[in-house]
């Protein structure tokens, strides 16, 4: 049989050429794309991702749908993983995680509360993205469709045993108890808090941690007096690269941490570093969920040539309706001597930010009791607060634990709680009776008027006859 190939492509050599012709583009194309894109492919999604349900309280309802995502790492480093489904109604994040070269499994935990609200039944398709910490490298995207069908009734909100729900929504982590809703920004040391439920917006407030300052206490009053005390090191906290860690193995533990570069005052050069961590735990949730105690930890990597270190922050009302007052009040009994309260236009205490002067300090870890000193100024909707911690005695590690809360006694009723009109069957029967009366009345009236007309007609006929 004559070959269709030209002579020089016929025979065994033609098969080899064909193989090369197919294989070469397969090899060249990714290389070409790699070169053209200018970014190295350092990670990809593997093919052996698995799914499982997690029912921590053993009640038959899952608190989490967990994906064990298979990640192929070509260059060891820190990677984050983001997953979402149903147009972002269900999201979860993991990392950043230090992953070695090769295949790794990373957990993505999707909250049962979001799943129960959003899915309609059937398999769920998740969009996955694994991204390297290094922005010059490309992230890898893929989808995962669950092997099983899932129904909304299979899930429940994750609970720490106190009725608290924790959700990760894009750039924020939401902790919601019966009374309090905390939103933790995952890229800034900023906490927004309000009443839980649908009526929260009129009580929205935020605490923003702005700056860390190490200073020489010129007047020896143990507080940071701007203008009097000598700033030696400073670090604005909005320039720090903050990372979030979450642990839901026992309740929740959410920590935001970053390495704070301390610059010599007036200089752009960082000469010392400190790790700063904000931690929120389910076991630090206060009774009835009205407040969340959280930890502020500062770990200095080098001793500083300064007397004290200060954390400058502000409490701000975001609703535009509340004012800030200092001092205790409302229904909340707190042992903390320092209390700032947010007051509603009706004069009721809504939000609470309180802290103790008692702190722990130490060289390696904060084990020695010590005291913080605080200054704060209140100006209507904003309060500026400065915590000042001692650095004497080789202190490198400082631990402080303020409280954010909402006064449960003054929680407003939910605005979106739609009331319905009550039904009164008796009124309906009365309405029907009125209808019957109208009909009967018109019938009677009509027959009466007919009879009258007939009588009038008869009378006329009689008169005509006479």
């Amino acid at each position: 049989m004559p070959s269709h190939y030209p002579r020089y492509l016929d025979g065994p050599s033609s098969r080899a050429i064909s193989v090369i012709a197919v294989a070469l583009p397969l090899f060249i194309l990714p290389m070409f794309l790699l070169v053209v894109s200018g970014a190295p492919m350092v990670v990809s999604l593997g093919s052996s991702t698995t799914e499982r349900l997690e029912d921590n309280d053993g009640d038959g309802l899952a608190e989490f749908l967990v994906l064990d995502v298979d990640i192929e790492v070509f260059e060891p480093g820190a990677y984050g993983l983001h997953g979402s489904a149903l147009d972002g109604a269900v999201t979860a994040n993991a990392g950043p995680l230090d992953l070695p070269m090769g295949s790794s499994k990373v957990e993505l935990r999707f909250s049962g509360s979001a799943l129960s609200r959003s899915i309609t039944g059937g398999p769920i398709s998740f969009d996955l993205e694994v991204f390297p910490r290094d922005p010059s490298s490309n992230s890898a995207k893929g989808t995962y469709r669950t092997m099983e069908d899932y129904m909304p009734e299979q899930f429940e909100a994750p609970s720490s045993g106190t009725g608290v729900e924790v959700r990760i929504l894009g750039m924020e982590v939401l902790i919601e108890s019966k009374v309090l809703r905390l939103s933790i920004n995952t890229t800034l040391p900023q906490i927004t808090f309000t009443y839980s439920g649908g009526s929260g917006d009129s009580t929205r407030s935020t605490i923003r941690y702005l700056e860390v300052v190490a200073y020489e206490d010129k007047n020896g009053n143990a507080v940071f007096d701007q203008g009097t005390d000598l700033k030696k090191y400073e670090a604005p906290l909005n320039t720090v690269d903050w990372s979030l860690r979450t642990d839901f193995s026992q309740g929740y533990e959410i920590s935001l941490h970053g390495v704070v570069p301390l610059r010599l005052s007036g200089s752009a050069t960082a000469v010392a570093w400190a790790k700063m961590t904000f931690t929120y735990r389910s076991r630090s949730l206060l009774l009835e969920g009205w407040g969340q105690k959280f930890d502020i930890d500062l770990e200095l990597w080098q001793p500083l040539d300064a007397d004290r270190i200060a954390v400058v922050h502000e409490l701000r009302d975001l609703s535009g309706e509340q004012t800030i007052e200092k001092g205790k009040g409302g229904s909340v009994q707190t042992d903390d001597p320092n209390v700032l309260r947010l007051i509603s236009p009706r004069g009721l205490t809504t939000g609470i930010y309180s802290w103790s002067d008692e702190i722990s300090v130490g060289e390696a870890s904060p084990q020695t009791p010590s005291r913080a000193n605080t200054t704060f100024t209140v100006d209507g909707h904003v309060a500026s607060i400065i915590f000042s911690y001692p650095l004497s005695g080789g202190t490198l590690s400082i631990h402080h634990d303020p409280v954010i809360g909402m006064d449960p006694a003054n929680m407003p009723k939910e605005r979106n709680q739609m009331g319905f009109l009550s039904n009164k069957p008796l009124a309906m029967i009365i309405g029907s009776a009125i209808g019957v009366l109208i009909v009967a009345g018109t019938v009677v009236f009509r027959s009466w008027s007919e009879r009258r007309e007939q009588r009038a007609l008869i009378d006329r006929e009689r008169k005509g006859g006479d």
């Binding site: 009164k424 069957p425 009124a427 029907s432 009125i434 109208i438 009909v439 018109t442």
Partner: protein, 94 residues
Amino acid sequence: MKDLLVGLLLVLSLVLSGIGFLSYRRSGSPRLLMVSFAFLLFLIKGLYLAVGLYLTHWVKVPRGFALAFDIMLLVDVAVLMTLYLALFRKQRVR
């Protein structure tokens, strides 16, 4: 208010449907049949509301919708009343 109006709507639409069908049977006019059917639709609406509101609770009227719901029912009742009174109004013999 809505309960009273539902009662009125039921009775008026029932009476008008009845009169309409009786008139159709007497006259055999297809136009009267269509008018009777329109009254029957009002009756179905009234029955649906009565069953949904008082027996099965399918229908729930949000508080924010109360006024609009009352106005809509009032318009329905006014339409039926106008037609009903028009029926009873005697044609003046010139």
